[in-house]
Amino acid sequence: MANAREPVIQVRDLVVELKSNRILNGVTLDVYRGEILGFVGASGAGKSVLTRTIVGLLPKVEGTIEVFGTNLDGLDEDQRRDIERRWGILFQQGALFSSLTVGQNVEFPMLEYLDISPKLMTEMAITKLEMVGLKPEVYRKYPSELSGGMIKRVALARALALDPEILFLDEPTSGLDPISAHEFDQLILTLQRTSQMAIFMVTHDLDSLYATCDRIAVLLDGKIGVTGNIDTMLASEQPWLKAYFHGARARVGQHGKQ
């Protein structure tokens, strides 16, 4: 296995403006292979914006983004496809294709990137669905027939379709019941252990942060305020962090990551 401290994402001095509002103002961040990076910040701080900028959905004003050591600026189409094939994204709202069945949604990236038999593709789609805790029956359903939590899981199954090396998760456990959320955390941990996946997880779920994250980065005022493990966060004197980790909803001294 490659060096554990090999960075797969390097963001340097990233500035992003939307409708001439400066949302991100000099973000510098590394994500390493095999780690789970928890990304926190107030609602509306720009976490989704950062995720979308890294994957190239939003334009940046300044700064550089390197993924797998390649600068994402000025790549030609093939090089970009090679990189896109190696990451999977779970959008905050699921973003399933509403006119395709669940099965077709999961098979969609496989169809595009892999040369495998239809039988194997179906088996893999079902395997992925079962891995994220769904029953094979959902395979033929349409997204509009699913509950909110099921949509999240199907979206995760689709993000995992190609066994990506980087997984972007935007609030994966929001809308899941605590048991499912716990299973979700366990699944993420399994994935990280088995495939050395780098996981970039935006979350507001303190349990998830405690249970899964190796490192946590905090977005404050358009910059990465603090990074470190959960103990660093708990020890921080920064007022917002204090309120976040020691507030009414926090249960300090909970189970750490095993």
């Binding site: 006119s99 892999l114 395997t127 079962e130 094979p136 029956e137 066994d163 994935l191 088995t194």
Partner: protein
């Protein structure tokens, strides 16, 4: 890195035991190449009692590779042959367990019926759907009327701002394109008329033709077709998107009547805008006709106007204008009914928008036919 391989290490089928060795990279990219190896390895061998796959030399394994191994194991186990893997790296154990836990019990797809039954079925369904459509249209007209009645009783509940906003979009913003098109239609009509009437020396009757045709029929039809394509479709798309994102349900649960809040302002806006657009459109068409008559047919503007005064009466104009609000109502109601029928998928939104335009244009023309019969029977 070498692609995944699966080789026979030792084994005699006579003794009933085989040992295979897997090596290389067992990942998604190589899955297409590995699958045939698995298939070759799982060909039935009689008298095989046990089999093991040594996985110690697998360099990389992902869920694709893990599933292919698992599939092989399952095939053998189904034949009551003992099958297991040995030497799996600890890193991969969790992944393998996940894949192993998958039941793969996909219920069979719903059976396809034979094609004759299916055709009859779809014809039947279409007929029922046509009938349902008419019922829905009638219901919508009804609920718009009741909402209108309620609003008349409580004028403060009327969404005036919303209606003005829609009026701007349906009426004001449509004006330039409507004027442009009707000028052209008037001009083409006059040109064709002059070209053919000239053979009989009856050039001047072109004025009668353009005047009557534009004021009675074409002005209102062209405007309605344009508005169905322009505003009817956007009504359907807006309401459909709101339906998809549960905005309509949200309104309902807050105690608002979606018909009153969303539909009534839209329909009133279109009912007000279409007659106004028809007026301007008809004038523009007459202008276009007059221009061509002058430049191409040599009919001076004064001659054109005095002939027009003789050819048409106030009634001709009224017949056209009378039709406009009814046609507008049809367009608005069809658009809103279709919009509210949008289901969860993007595809259904597109389909409904198409339906809305096609149906409203069709119904407008049918309605025009009924008006023609009606006016003929009362001698207009």
């Amino acid at each position: 890195m070498t692609a995944g391989t699966l080789t026979l290490v030792s084994g005699e089928s006579g003794r009933g035991h085989i040992r295979l060795a897997a090596a290389g990279v067992w990942t998604a990219e190589n899955a297409g190449a590995i699958e045939p190896l698995i298939e070759a390895a799982t060909r039935p061998i009689p008298s095989l009692k046990s089999i093991s796959i040594d996985t110690a030399n697998i360099e990389r394994l992902d869920s694709f590779g893990a599933w292919l191994l698992e599939r092989a194991l399952r095939t053998w186990r189904d034949r009551e042959c003992e099958a297991n893997i040995v030497g799996l790296k600890d890193d991969y154990r969790g992944l393998f367990e996940k894949v192993h836990a998958a039941t793969q019990k996909l219920p069979p797809p719903p059976k396809k019926r034979n094609s004759i039954v299916a055709t009859l079925d779809s014809v039947g369904r279409t007929m029922v759907a046509v009938f349902d459509d008419l019922v829905l249209l009638a219901q919508m007209v009804g609920s718009v009327m009741t909402a209108f009645g309620r609003v008349l009783l409580h004028p403060s509940r009327f969404r005036f701002t919303s209606m003005v906003n829609h009026l701007e979009r349906v009426g004001w913003h449509a004006l330039p394109i409507i004027l442009l098109i009707t000028v052209l239609i008037g001009a083409i009509l006059a040109q064709q008329g002059i070209f053919h009437f000239r053979k009989f020396g009856a050039d001047i009757y072109v004025v009668d033709m353009v005047g009557v045709l534009v004021l009675r029929e074409l002005g209102v039809l062209i405007v309605c077709i344009m508005i169905a394509g322009r505003s009817g479709s956007s009504y359907t798309a807006e309401l459909g998107a709101m339906k998809m994102r549960e905005e309509v349900d949200a309104l309902r649960t807050m105690g608002f009547d979606p018909v009153e809040v969303l539909i009534l302002p839209r329909i009133l806006a279109i009912v007000i805008a279409v007659p106004i657009l028809t007026l301007f459109g008809s004038l523009a068409a007459l202008y276009g006709g007059g221009l061509v008559a002058w430049l191409y047919g040599g009919i001076a503007p004064e001659v054109f106007l005095s002939r027009l005064r003789e050819a048409i009466s106030m009634q001709t104009f009224e017949v056209g204008m009378l039709k406009a609000p009814f046609m507008a109502l049809v367009i608005g109601v069809v658009a809103c009914v279709e919009g509210l029928q949008v289901q969860g998928s993007a595809e259904s939104l597109g389909e409904r928008t198409t339906n809305s335009v096609v149906k409203s244009i069709f119904l407008v023309i049918v309605l025009d036919g009924f008006f023609a019969m009606f006016f003929a029977s009362i001698g207009l």
